[in-house]
Structures are given as C-alpha cells and as structure tokens.
C-alpha cells in the first residue's frame, strides 16, 4: 500500500512575512462535539463532530525572527518535503494569527522558540 512521509518544513510565510529557521510545525485540527441522550437510552443517540478548530505551533531557532512575526495575521503557508522525493505538499491555512512566543536561549544549547497560532479555516494540503 502506497504511503507518503514528509519532513523539513520550508517556505514558511505568514501574510507577506517569511519565517526562517523553522524546525517543526505542529498543525492541529479539532472538531467540537455535540452529544445528547434521551429517556431510556443506554447510550447517547446523538454524538456528532461539528465545527472545526485549527491551531498549532511553529518551532524555530531564531528568537529575534520569532519576535518579528509574533502578532502577525494572514495566510500561513509552508511546504512539506516528501522524504521519498515524490511530490511535496503545500499547506495553506487562511485566517491565521500568530500569538506571542516562548523563547528558550540556554548557555550551552542552540536557541529555540515556539510560536503558537490559531486560524479561522481548515488547512488545505495540496500537491505541487
């Protein structure tokens, strides 16, 4: 059975601003739950997922670069590189907002920063 594996997120942009030095991007899509049980029901007869919620975290190495894009909003876009040299994927998340950041700068380790984001649309994953 064919499958694909991706790594190395590239070409990361929010609005018109590029985000350099990205190490990883977590994209989370969760849907709200709607539940109900009636008289005499041993199990919920209504259990549905409804509206989705998109959020995630971008991890990069550059605290100054992270500070420059914190608070920005726009379309978040990046590329997933195909490990097996097949077609890469472009992920586009419209209506994204980057919140603050958590920067870790240690004495004997490379700096690391996380940028949380939320978005008003589901990610669109498209082939290149």
């Amino acid at each position: 059975m064919a499958f694909n594996v991706y790594h190395d997120p590239r070409n990361v942009t929010i609005g018109q601003a590029a985000i350099a030095g990205v190490e990883s991007i977590i994209v989370s899509v969760r849907r709200q739950e709607f539940h109900a049980a009636g008289d005499g029901e041993m199990h919920e007869s209504v259990a549905r997922f409804t509206a989705g919620r998109t959020s995630g975290t971008i991890t990069l190495v550059d605290p100054a670069g992270a500070a420059a894009v914190a608070g920005r909003a726009g379309t978040l876009s990046f590329t997933w590189k195909d490990v097996k040299a097949q077609a890469d994927k472009t992920v586009t998340i419209a209506g994204a907002s980057i919140g603050g950041y958590d920067a870790t700068v240690a004495r004997n380790a490379a700096s690391s920063v996380t940028l949380p984001f939320i978005a008003e649309a589901a990610p669109i994953v498209a082939g290149q």
Binding site: Q32, F34, A36, A37, G38, D39, G40, E41, E44, S45, V46, R48, F49, T50, A51
Partner: protein, 132 residues
C-alpha cells in the same frame, strides 16, 4: 419516542422529560388556642413537564441551508406556544388539555456532516403545563 404537541414533534432526537408535581390546592386556616392547622383540600392543580431534546434539520447541501431549515422548524413550532392541545410524552402517554408554555433553543446551533450532506442540530427545551 419523540414527544408531540398536537401533531408536531417537539424534538427529532434524544427526547427526555422531567415530570413535575401536580400543584396542591389547599385552603389552610389557623384557630387561636388550637394547635396545628385545618386543611381544606381542593382538586390538584396543573403539573409542569419539562421536555428537552435535539431538533435536527433536514439533510441539506450546505451548512447555510441546513441552518435555515432548522430555524424554520423551530419558529414553526413556536407558533403553538400558548395553544392548548394534547401532549404525547416520550413514553406515549397522552396528556389532553395541555398548554405549550415555552419552546426555545437551548444552545448554539451546530452543523455536522452526515451521509448525503449537512445537517444542523440544536438542543431545544419545552415546558408543557398539563392537567394532573
């Protein structure tokens, strides 16, 4: 089963009732120098039945159409608030001469993907004033 007011289903899914108590109607009188009270017991008053459940739209091709369909259903049932008719409970019991006192949405409307399209759902609640 879905409770009905007259010929209208008050819910589509997950209907539940809370049967209230008949109201007691009693005249009470106290006499000087006599311990206790005298009660003149009258026939019982009405009882309230609280109904909750889920109202669902028809399956539509878009979320907007599903939401509009659900709102139309809700408003159609609300036209019977203040009307006296027969209420049929979730167990099929008939309560004749009942008043639909309240019928309202009890939470945000939500849409979900289902087989063949999109369906809108909302929790609803009703209050029936029934004869004892």
């Amino acid at each position: 089963m879905n409770p009905k007011f007259d010929i209208y289903d008050l819910t589509t899914l997950a209907a539940a009732e809370i049967i209230g108590s008949p109201a007691s109607r009693t005249s009470r009188e106290r006499m000087p120098d006599v311990a206790g009270e005298f009660f003149q017991v009258q026939p019982a008053g009405a009882r309230e039945i609280a109904v909750r459940g889920v109202l669902a739209s028809a399956v539509k091709t878009s979320a907007d159409l599903a939401a509009a369909d659900l709102k139309a259903k809700l408003l159609a049932i609300q036209q019977y608030v203040g009307v006296v008719a027969t209420y049929v409970g979730t167990d099929g019991r008939l309560y004749s001469g009942s008043l639909l006192s309240v019928y309202r949405q009890a939470g945000p409307m939500e849409v979900s993907a289902v087989s063949g399209g999109v369906q809108a759902l909302a929790h609803v609640e009703a209050v029936i004033v029934a004869q004892p």
